[in-house]
C-alpha cells in the first residue's frame, strides 16, 4: 500500500493550521477543478486533493493520520514507500462522519475516487460511524440504512442516443468484506443505454450504489451522459446541427441533395435556390428521438468552392463573374 503524504499533496507544512489547510485546498481546487482546468491530469489531481482535504480538514481524521504518519516518517518513509498502519492504530479515535466520500466537498469525484491507503485507514471507521449512529437511536435494534447513491459520467457517441447502445462500464469503488471493512473493488457493468438520451441527462441504475447497512436497500448509481466530441455535429438538448456542404451551383440554383443523418440513414433534402452559407434547414423530428418531444435536425449550409485549376475551369469562373457585373459581397 502506497503511503500518501497528504501534507505534500496540499503543499502545506505538517503543523499547518486548519485555516492554512482550507486556503491551500481552495486554491488548488480552483486550479485543478476538472470543469475549468486545462491541466491534462486535472481529474486525477482533484481526486488526490479531495482525499487529502477530507483527512486534514477533519481534526479527528487528521490526528489519526498523523499518528500513522509520524511512525512512518520516523522510520524514514516518504511518499511511495510501503507503509501499513499498525494494528489498533485508530483505537480511541471517533470519526464524526463515517462516509469519507459523500457528494459534498468533492468536485468531480465520486465515492470511488479514494486511494487504497485511505480505505485502509478510514474504511473501518465508516462502518463504526454507522454503528454509532444507530446506538443513538436506542433500543438495541439495528436501524436499516439505505446505501449511498453513486455518481459517474459516461461518454457516448451521438448514434447511441439515436439507436440505444450496450456499454461495459468499469467503476472503481469499495465494498464491505466479511469483517465489515471496506476494501477496494473494481467492477464492470454491462448496461443497455436507452434510446433518446441527451447531454447532461441522468441514467439511474437501481441498486448499483453502495450496499445498505443492516438490511437497508442499496443506493443507486447515476450515470451523467456526455457526448464524445465529434466535428460533424453540434448538439443542443435533443436538437442536432450538422454541416451540409453544397456546391455553389446547388446553393444558387437549389435542388435535391442526399444527406447522411446522424442515425446513419440517407435522406434527400431540397436546398432552396439562392441559399447562402450558414443557412439552416430544419428536418423536424430528426434530432435525438424521444417519445413525446423528439429533437430536430438542422442542416447548416456550407458552400464548398472548387478550385479553378484547368483553363476550362478558369474560363467558367470568369464567365460567372461576367454574368454578375455589379455583384460585390463586401458591400451590404
Amino acid at each position: 500500500m502506497e503511503f500518501k503524504d497528504y501534507y505534500q499533496t496540499l503543499g502545506v507544512a505538517k503543523g499547518a493550521s486548519q485555516d492554512d489547510i482550507r486556503k491551500a485546498y481552495r486554491k488548488l481546487a480552483r486550479k485543478y477543478h476538472p470543469d475549468v482546468s486545462k491541466e491534462a491530469d486535472a481529474a486525477l489531481r482533484m481526486a488526490e486533493l479531495n482525499e487529502a482535504n477530507t483527512v486534514l480538514s477533519d481534526p479527528e481524521k487528521r490526528a489519526a493520520y498523523d499518528t500513522v504518519g509520524a511512525q512512518a516518517w520516523a522510520q524514514g518513509a516518504r511518499s511511495g514507500d510501503d507503509v501499513r498502519p499498525p494494528p489498533g492504530w485508530n483505537t480511541g479515535y471517533e470519526f464524526a462522519e463515517g462516509a469519507p466520500g459523500g457528494a459534498r466537498g468533492h468536485f468531480g469525484a465520486g465515492e470511488a475516487d479514494f486511494s487504497e491507503f485511505f480505505e485502509q485507514m478510514f474504511g473501518r471507521a465508516r462502518t463504526a460511524g454507522g454503528a454509532r449512529g444507530q446506538a443513538g437511536t436506542g433500543g438495541g435494534a439495528r436501524a436499516q440504512m439505505r446505501g449511498e447513491d453513486h455518481h459517474a459520467r459516461i461518454e457516448l457517441e451521438l448514434i447511441d442516443a439515436y439507436r440505444g447502445a450496450e456499454r461495459a462500464i468499469t467503476l472503481r469503488g469499495a465494498r464491505l468484506n466479511a469483517d465489515g471493512q471496506l476494501v477496494p473493488e473494481e467492477r464492470t457493468l454491462q448496461v443497455k443505454i436507452p434510446q433518446g438520451v441527451k447531454e447532461g441527462q441522468l441514467i439511474r441504475l437501481a441498486g448499483q450504489g453502495s450496499p445498505g447497512l443492516h438490511g437497508g436497500a442499496a443506493g443507486d448509481l447515476f450515470l451523467e451522459v456526455r457526448f464524445r466530441p465529434d466535428a460533424r455535429w453540434r448538439i443542443d438538448g435533443r436538437d442536432v446541427t450538422q454541416r451540409l456542404r453544397v456546391t455553389p451551383w446547388e446553393a444558387a440554383l437549389g435542388g435535391g441533395v442526399g444527406v447522411t443523418t446522424p442515425d446513419g440513414r440517407t435522406v434527400e433534402v431540397t436546398v432552396p435556390a439562392g441559399s447562402g452559407s450558414g443557412r439552416r434547414l430544419r428536418l423536424k423530428g430528426r434530432g435525438i428521438p424521444s417519445g413525446s418531444a423528439p429533437g430536430d435536425l438542422y442542416l447548416e449550409l456550407d458552400i464548398a468552392v472548387p478550385g479553378a485549376v484547368t483553363p476550362e475551369q478558369q474560363r467558367a469562373w470568369q464567365a460567372l463573374g461576367q454574368a454578375y457585373p455589379g455583384f460585390d459581397p463586401r458591400r451590404a
Partner: protein
C-alpha cells in the same frame, strides 16, 4: 473481468420531471431543508408542483444542485454566488462544446 449484466428493468432514463424533493436531496447528499431554502431563494427551480410535496426536478437540476452544494461546502459560498458560479461553469462547458464541435 466479466461484466455484470444489469437487467433493463433496473435501468431508467430519468425524464425531465423525474425527481421529487427527497430524491433530489438524497442525490446531492443534502437535507430537504437545504433544497427548500434554495428553491425559496430562486436558486433551484422545480419544474412542476405548487407545494413541496408536488415539486418535481429534472435530472439536469440534480447535476446543478450537486455542483452548487459542492461550491457552498468547499468555499463556504453564499448560495447565490455558488449558483452564479455553477451557471458560469455550465456556460463555459457549453461554449467549449461549440468551439470543439464546429
Amino acid at each position: 473481468m466479466t461484466p455484470t449484466p444489469i437487467p433493463p428493468a433496473l435501468v431508467e432514463l430519468l425524464d425531465d420531471a423525474a425527481l421529487d424533493l427527497n430524491a433530489l436531496a438524497r442525490g446531492c447528499a443534502v437535507t430537504t431543508e437545504w433544497v427548500h431554502t434554495h428553491v425559496e431563494a430562486g436558486v433551484l427551480e422545480p419544474l412542476a408542483g405548487g407545494g413541496a410535496a408536488e415539486w418535481r426536478f429534472s435530472s439536469t437540476t440534480l447535476a446543478r444542485a450537486r455542483r452548487i452544494a459542492e461550491l457552498e461546502h468547499t468555499y463556504d459560498a453564499d448560495p447565490q454566488l455558488a449558483a452564479l458560479t455553477a451557471d458560469l461553469m455550465e456556460e463555459v462547458a457549453r461554449l467549449r462544446r461549440l468551439v470543439r464541435d464546429f
